[in-house]
Symmetry: D2
């Protein structure tokens, strides 16, 4: 695992701030679990809601000092930048449309940013953020958390090692059912509002995860896609289902299906990759298993930290095979990878070689994916270059 | 089950002939198992190979009388039609390009035809065969055998009963790996030769099954599709993989993926259907299970002849739940359904109401599917009407 | 597969008779499917019920000639023995207490017997039957049908080849739920009546199958056992659940759990075998899969007729991997093995070397198992030698 | 979840010390993850090894203040008890034989103890510890962590609510393979040394977990058992496999199989419970799923925080269904339950009603289980009262 034991300069936790993630937020709490699990962060500051009163209440519950509960993120960025004990990094866990202004505020103060996906709500914001991030010394980490799962790392390593041969097919799907009927809770509200979520509904919320994971594991880039988006639920303003055909650089082909209206699917992110020498199958809901079939041999079940698993998975595993790790551990791996990089920058040391996490580049690709899906679907599924 | 016990006129087996299905044939032997299992047929005549010598040898091994082993199917059709004890039906199990002439020969003699899929190798042949079949009194049964599985029947019944609500999504896939590398056996030879197989490779061989099953279970017709076909193996003259997006009448959408180059998949035909009230999932390799999720409730595992299974499945099941039935039993159900219809026609009785099997109509739809896939792919995945 | 094509003397089906198996019978119909599937038998005679009228009606439905529908099995044995075209074998599918007298009648006429399990209802009958069988020239086949499954053969072959090393553990279970509450149908009636079923309830009906399979696959004999039998349902006169610890010759240990009162289990026969080099797991409800783990390597999924399966399984498989075979095919393998042996005897040829089926020896072992369970449980689970 | 948000007196983390758990320790690191995940504890003191030098090095890596890294646990108990900011609780994660003296030292200082299982290495120590614990005001928590899994709580709740009816069968197994061959690492060393581990090998290390879980979920107590213990690996001084039949108060029966020599099993703890109205099945390696079959209805898959899951599971779940939680989350639930109780005691408030965790009572039952197994096996599997 990415353990404290490997840190050389200091074992003191990094100081973390948070924008968004107040009461009733889902993803903010996930980020806090992820930050806490490996002991690399201590949450010390926050602008936890766009409503100052709610931000204050949430901060108190989380045990933040009064003077580090902020009414808004601009104030927080400015004040924290002034402090000797200012935050080392900020987690941005707001609805999508706030990612850009919040990330900009901290990056411009030189504060490292850990931002939830997708990158922004519009491609224009994304391009601006890209500029800001490239100009800033601060790190930008995008929490495409599924790349933190040990067996996703294992799969990537096997593909890179040529165990599947030449990749021909990349089949990704991310299927849920929670928006099967009209929902009016906080989570559904902003996710189905184009002004806050962006042009993509399911493609932005979950499709980008599947897209990112497909590229991460296959090591390939998508060149073009043809999409057919649907909004099945009457009155819904964004897509709740999408069928996408994809052409990868180098000749591989694939599909991506994302849906939030398929009853019986909770959070079914699946990836299947096939080459001329073998195939791999992985499912997020059973994340400790990876199916591998060398062509012409029996299927093998590789388990996290079990027989057949290699270094890439072992590096981000905590406990022995048969002791399941889950979503929070995978998410924590992104945080711990980020901690390695942030500490290396802070203490002027070399970043451990194997450290990896998604950043601005992956964020931009995700935005291009969303845009291409929307464009293609608007033109009756024409192939669109990313 | 479709048992002999229900027959009223006569319990004597029907007399069956066979065209194709000699030594080394795969599907011919399957048809013979299917014909034999429920005791409804006795194989008495055959033109088992296009090579007379091989036909003769195969016929002897199968115990046919010398005078009913024929050198070619034309002779067989003529001679059998003359006999008092002539065959009641003929099974046509040749490569695709021979389906049309063989079926024509028997239909024109008034002999019932049980034909393997796809209907023919070309749309032209298909249109001609349609005419012949419509003109003939004889029955034409197409062995889309997967519709014979009890749980496929169960799924169809549940959809028809509204248990899924309004259907939104139909996701079908049929994935194999046996053509991952260049193959030169008999089975691969004709299936990858456009002259014998038709314009479709994987889409004809297995895609039509998935297409047929999707329509059968959903009760919906495909209006248009957009396809991206590939031939991954160098030198292959037909597609070995296809990605297809589909639009169904009434607003449902779906995808169909068929592949013969995905290592780790033996014969993985899967169907997933989702409506606004529930979802169903079925996989041919584990055919005794059907997953059903009423939206907002726990997933349920319905088993063949177990709790939760209804009449449509019980009617074509032989043994109690927990005692698995398989591919041959499903195939035999098509034969036994056909036997009901053939007997009703033979004895002038009413066909039992629930009897059903695929015929010319389903065959024509399959041919249109193949053609639409080829056309769409040739035009860069343009949406094509079926 | 054990196909007709391999027969040299004659391809004509063997003539089969049946005792028991009339209307509403479960296992009789199963035997008929099994006899029919591979085309090795034709049913021509029967004493299908202990009630002559019912026997007659059942025989007519099955299309038997009037003069070969018998009122009782004694008459049938005598008459069939006299005919030139008399039956080659008889299937005995009565309740357990009739196995002995019926088998005796046919064996003494030199007619081969295919008998359902357990051997008899009492150990006394079993010892008598053993004598009769040993004195007769006729073959005695006991349908421990689960040994007919290709993957059970595969498992046995792997154990015999040393792929598991020295066997340490044999864990067998056979779990059902259909007797969870008091049942009064025909199937339940005789199975819970000691006079017809024997001293064993679940241990006789299903425990013997698990016991037989454990010995078959492991190649080991049970030396002693300690049992705790229960009758959970009030008023039930035989056990409906049993926990058994077993000591095998050579030092292996194991358990056997059989139950008919475990809700959620339809027909869950499972076998897990572990040696010092590897482990195997198989479940009857998913019979086409065998899990194999060489110690220290990833688990492998061996499929029937798929990669990794050997000759023993291929010999009794009909169709390619991914095309599931089931209970009837496994049962039919016993019938087809028997046909090989019966034909060899009939035509004076050598029995094909690999032919195997359970017989008197396995039947006696099953009876000793039942008796030891009852004795042990009566003495508070004392270890009892078989 | 057992969240910080519910605390009223103070959100400050509790101060935690640790005995054992230095470099190369497995379970110590697990306890630290568990303590950290929900933010209820801060590790501030330790006697992390019986070797002072190693204790010191480990403490530094963990960022402990120099004056709170202790050479031995006696010193630690004394010194911490004196401090105003002394530890609120100590985690004892040593080999089994040190549980008693360490727990005694802290309990006698009034410091709450969180102790790994089994309770002690000998029944004598256990009885002494029971006295000490009962005399002390301090809390004693035993980390039978598997009772912390949400779906184990769900199962317990369903049994308690009568959804299974009257319980008849409790089948528990805990199967591993890591001791299949002789092992000489640190983990194997003390676990196979009776002086450090106690009289039980597999029965102490993992059998006690299965025993505890069976009692926890069923709500039943074991009255007597009959055991057959084995040491398959030559030279091994404790059991590495055990077969146990059990009789529960009230008439339920069960078996428990634990093994560390079954290749292909990583950490396969399974529980199956059957009553006269339904059955439940749960497996630790797939902990987010619980199978429930109401007798006569289809099997249902209940998921953590998904449809069908109740309050008991929701209370200890952190994230939505489909987002898997694992071993560390389950373990953390014990720590967070303990935190609720420790805070209630510390601040003089009422302990939240639903709070539950294993303690001395469960520890004593586990010791009696080990002793009964050893006694029974020594007397050829005689039934022994607990």
């Amino acid at each position: 695992m990415v353990s404290a034991a490997k840190e050389t300069q200091s074992n003191a936790p990094l100081r973390l701030g948070m924008v968004g993630g107040g009461k009733d937020a889902f993803i903010g709490e996930v980020h806090r679990f992820a930050a806490r699990l490996d002991g690399h962060y201590e949450l010390v500051a926050g602008a936890l809601s766009s409503t100052p009163q709610k931000s204050r209440e949430s901060g108190e519950v989380l045990g933040l000092a009064q003077d580090r509960i902020y009414d808004d993120f601009h104030q927080m960025a400015t004040e924290e930048a002034k402090r000797d004990d200012g935050i080392d990094a900020v987690a941005i866990v707001t609805p999508n449309h706030m990612h850009y202004p919040a990330a900009k505020a901290f990056l411009e103060q030189g504060i490292n940013v850990i931002c939830d996906k997708p990158l922004t709500s519009t491609i224009e914001d994304a391009l601006e953020l890209e500029k800001v991030a490239n100009k800033s010394d601060a790190l930008f980490i995008l929490t495409h958390n599924y790349t933190g799962y040990p067996m996703a790392r294992q799969a990537k390593e096997m593909v890179a090692n040529g165990e599947l041969g030449n990749i021909r097919l990349v089949q990704a799907e991310y299927v849920q059912d929670w928006l099967t009927v009209e929902e009016t809770n906080k989570q559904a509200d902003w996710r189905t509002d184009p002004a806050r979520s962006g042009a993509g509904g399911s493609i932005g919320d979950i499709g980008t995860h599947a897209f990112n994971l497909a590229c991460f594991v296959s090591g390939l880039e998508v060149e073009s896609l043809a999409a057919d988006l649907q909004s099945f639920v009457p009155g819904r303003r964004v897509d709740d289902n999408a069928h996408i055909m994809m052409r990868y650089a180098g000749g591989a082909r694939g599909t991506l299906w994302c849906s939030q209206v398929a009853p019986g699917n909770e959070n079914s992110l699946k990836l299947r990759i096939y080459g001329d020498k073998g195939g791999l199958e992985w499912c997020q809901e059973d994340p400790n298993y990876l199916w591998f079939t060398p062509f012409g041999e029996p299927k093998r079940l590789i388990t996290r930290n079990g027989a057949g698993a290699g270094n890439a998975a072992a590096r981000v595993s905590r406990i022995p095979g048969g002791h399941p790790e889950g979503y929070l551990e995978g998410f924590a791996n992104i945080y711990s990878e980020a901690a390695s990089a942030i500490r290396a920058k802070k203490y002027g040391t070399a970043r451990p070689e194997a450290t990896q996490f998604p950043g601005i580049k992956e964020g931009m690709q995700g935005m291009k994916f969303i845009n291409a899906c929307v464009s293609s679907s608007a033109e009756n599924s024409k192939w669109v270059t990313l």
